[in-house]
């Protein structure tokens, strides 16, 4: 017997999964560059959210057309990959359609895979049309120039090719067609190949089989470089999302300490700070100042642009785009990660930062904190939390708020109101007519 095929297959498999795991480890290291934040509470609610939002896609159907098509592609993707198990066993042990001994059940399984593959083809074609022919606004927005724009199309082509290969593989499998069980779709493709010798048919079938498995491995490894990472990260991302009401911003603990000290009449203002008390940076100017959930958010973002399409600032022509906030954060995090890779595990300052080099103050100050983006995101990402952390840096570390905001804050400080009124006049309305 010739074991060459099986060996090549095993090597392919090890390379494919090996490279994938290396990259996953890199992502996890990068996410861990973020600050600690505790999301271990309420695990029941968290599991439920994950089941509803990531698995159940509950927020996708808010836009019904995209939502339903997406569910088809998603279900198709997950279920057809059950096939992968058979392919791996066949490939490693030189068997052919090992599960066909299941009889009718096998037919039902493959039959449903074929239907799904066909539906996925349809859905992906509609997606392609939406992006490239109808040109929905959120897909041609300038956030998506260059790679991100092509990335989306590449994935669609990938899906088309993979699904076609799967169907061709079934259509050219003479045994499978003869058994006439499960070839729901492929029986209509098979006639294309009539008149071809059995040998050639077998060759086509084998080629489709090999291309199919190689394609899947390439796809797996392409994820890391693509917005399609969301098919994996959507799960942890929805699990670890903030559970508080959307209006609630976190209270910075470091500030609480200082404010308590300031307000404590017994505290000695001249006391030397306890040893080892280094200045903590307030807010965020770079990715390492964000917390790990915010960084996970950045890797999870699918660049769908739903957030940007509902953002009041963006709709009125301001530079702010919540999607761009997420993409910038991810791009900068990748840059920092590469820096660490080339410098043997250490980050060497590169005179760049998320603030200014990626996200400008103009974008940050345009946000109304309305939470429309957070509400809209189908996978529980919060662009707003990053915006607020960066504003905190601008104001508390750089005193770089727009002038009118400085005036407002001075008023709050001196008069207890954002305008120049005297606190003693607060009840005057009572006697005014």
């Amino acid at each position: 017997m010739n074991y060459l095929d099986n060996i090549i297959f095993a090597v392919l498999l090890v390379l494919g999964f090996g490279y994938f795991f290396i990259n996953i480890k890199k992502i996890s290291r990068n996410i861990n560059l973020g600050k600690a934040v505790d999301r271990t509470d309420n695990s029941n609610i968290r599991w439920k959210n994950m089941a509803m939002i990531a698995l159940g896609q509950s927020k996708m159907v808010k836009r019904p057309i995209a939502g339903i098509l997406h569910i088809i592609v998603y279900v198709g993707f997950v279920i057809i990959n059950i096939e992968l198990l058979e392919i791996i066993i066949d490939g490693l042990f030189g068997t052919h359609r090992i599960f066909s001994s299941l009889g009718t059940l096998y037919g039902v399984l493959i039959g449903s895979f074929e239907i799904l593959a066909f539906l996925v083809l349809v859905a992906v074609t509609v997606f392609w049309i939406r992006r490239n022919v109808i040109k929905l606004k959120r897909f041609i927005n300038p956030d998506l120039k260059g790679f991100p724009k092509n990335d989306a199309n590449y994935i669609l082509y990938f899906e088309m090719v993979l699904m076609t290969l799967f169907l061709v593989m079934n259509a050219t499998d003479v045994h499978f067609q003869l058994s006439n069980s499960g070839n729901v779709i492929s029986q209509f493709i098979a006639p294309i190949f009539t008149g071809i010798s059995d040998n050639s048919l077998h060759l086509i079938e084998r080629t489709a089989w090999w291309l199919h498995i190689s394609g899947i491995l390439i796809f797996l490894n392409y994820l890391y470089f693509s917005k399609h990472l969301h098919i994996l990260l959507a799960f942890p991302n929805t699990y670890f999302a903030d559970l508080n009401p959307l209006g609630q911003l976190d209270n910075l603990e470091a500030v609480t300490k200082e404010v308590k000290l300031m307000m404590d009449p017994n505290a000695d203002p001249y006391a030397t700070p306890p040893e080892g008390d280094v200045h903590v940076k307030f807010g965020a100017s770079d990715v390492q100042d964000l917390n790990w959930v915010q960084l996970l958010n950045a890797y999870t973002c699918t660049e769908c642009g739903r957030c940007t399409s509902v953002c009041p600032a963006n709709q009125t022509g301001k530079k702010l785009s919540p999607r761009k906030i997420m993409m910038d954060t991810r791009d900068r995090l990748e840059e920092v990660g590469k820096n660490i890779d080339t410098n043997k595990g250490l980050f060497i300052p590169d005179n760049k930062s998320l603030l200014n080099d990626y996200i400008t103050p103009e974008e940050l100050w345009a946000c109304t904190s309305c939470n429309a983006c957070v509400e809209e995101c189908p996978i529980s990402i919060s662009p707003l939390s990053i915006i607020i952390d960066m504003r905190r840096y601008l104001v508390m570390e750089q005193s770089a708020a727009p002038m009118p905001l400085n005036a407002m804050m001075t008023n709050v400080e001196n008069n207890g109101a954002p305008w120049q009124y005297n606190q003693q006049d607060r009840l005057n309305w009572k006697n005014e007519i």
């Binding site: 009041p312 904190s369 508390m396 109101a417």
Partner: protein, 263 residues
């Protein structure tokens, strides 16, 4: 409106050894802004009519710190918060009602961790509860059959999921509630939040409040109702921008109810 408003302060209450049922947090806009003061007074008239024992902090009230926090000044926010919490706790405040969704959100969600734990309700929720308990009756009066659209304040709606109380109240006026194409969780911001109220907008091709006013005008309303003094300002400005002052009024839910009873 010759009737005098009865507005006791917490200090007066304490001097008489009394504790009000609810503390009315007036807020900066409600205290100082000419338009918002009318909302404050309308709400007080309803409270007086329903004989609700309430009190205000008066000159002891100070900004919750919301605009400072959203602008990024966590220091100023926490200083304001701790000062206010000290005052509120000294009076042993239990329940707070406010007509400002920004105060509402901050007091309800951001004060507890800093030591201020109260039951906080928005005035539309409070009015709804008065109604449910039979302490307040609402009749349509002048608003019977009027087309009213409700603009969801972000800090009431999306931020805290209060969508129904204001709508229930509008419907009690026997008026026709017409929804904008984006409402409730999909509502569009008026443009004031996140400290935008206190600064100029960044360069763009439109003002947010004008866009939102267009949403509202599409429903051809006679009245745009809101539950936030800042939304009120923004929508009023939007209506002026569209030169519709003659046709469309912008009113707070409290004003609708007070006016319907001729209070």
């Amino acid at each position: 409106m010759s009737e005098v408003l009865i507005v006791p302060t917490m200090a007066e209450m304490l001097a008489q050894g009394k504790q009000p049922e609810v503390l009315f947090w007036v807020g900066c806009a409600g205290s100082f802004d000419d338009r918002a003061k009318k909302i404050t007074k309308a709400f007080v008239r309803i409270l007086n009519r329903a004989n609700v024992p309430f009190a205000v902090l008066g000159t002891e009230e100070s900004c919750t710190g919301d605009p400072a926090k959203r602008a990024g000044n966590e220091f100023l926010f926490q200083m304001q918060a701790m000062m206010n919490i000290e005052v509120l706790n000294a009076y042993e405040a239990k329940k707070i009602v406010t007509a400002c969704p920004h105060c509402f959100n901050t007091l309800k969600n951001e004060y507890p961790e800093l030591g201020g734990q109260y039951e906080v309700v928005h005035h539309t929720e409070f009015l709804k509860s008065l109604l449910d308990d039979g302490r307040l009756t609402i009749e349509g009066g002048q608003f019977k059959g009027k087309r009213i659209t409700f603009h969801d304040p972000c800090y009431l709606g999306r931020a805290n999921k209060v969508y129904e109380a204001p709508r229930d109240l509008i419907q009690k006026l026997d008026s026709e509630l017409v929804e904008m194409k984006r409402s409730r969780a999909n509502g569009l911001c008026c443009g004031a939040g996140g400290a935008q109220m206190f600064k100029d907008a960044e360069p763009g091709d439109k003002e947010v409040n004008v866009l939102r006013t267009e949403d509202a005008l599409e429903t051809t309303p006679e009245i745009i109702a809101t539950g936030c003094p800042f939304c009120n300002t923004m929508m009023t400005d939007g209506i002026k921008n569209k030169e519709k002052e003659g046709d469309v009024k912008v009113m707070d839910i409290a004003e609708l109810i007070a006016n319907a009873q001729d209070l």
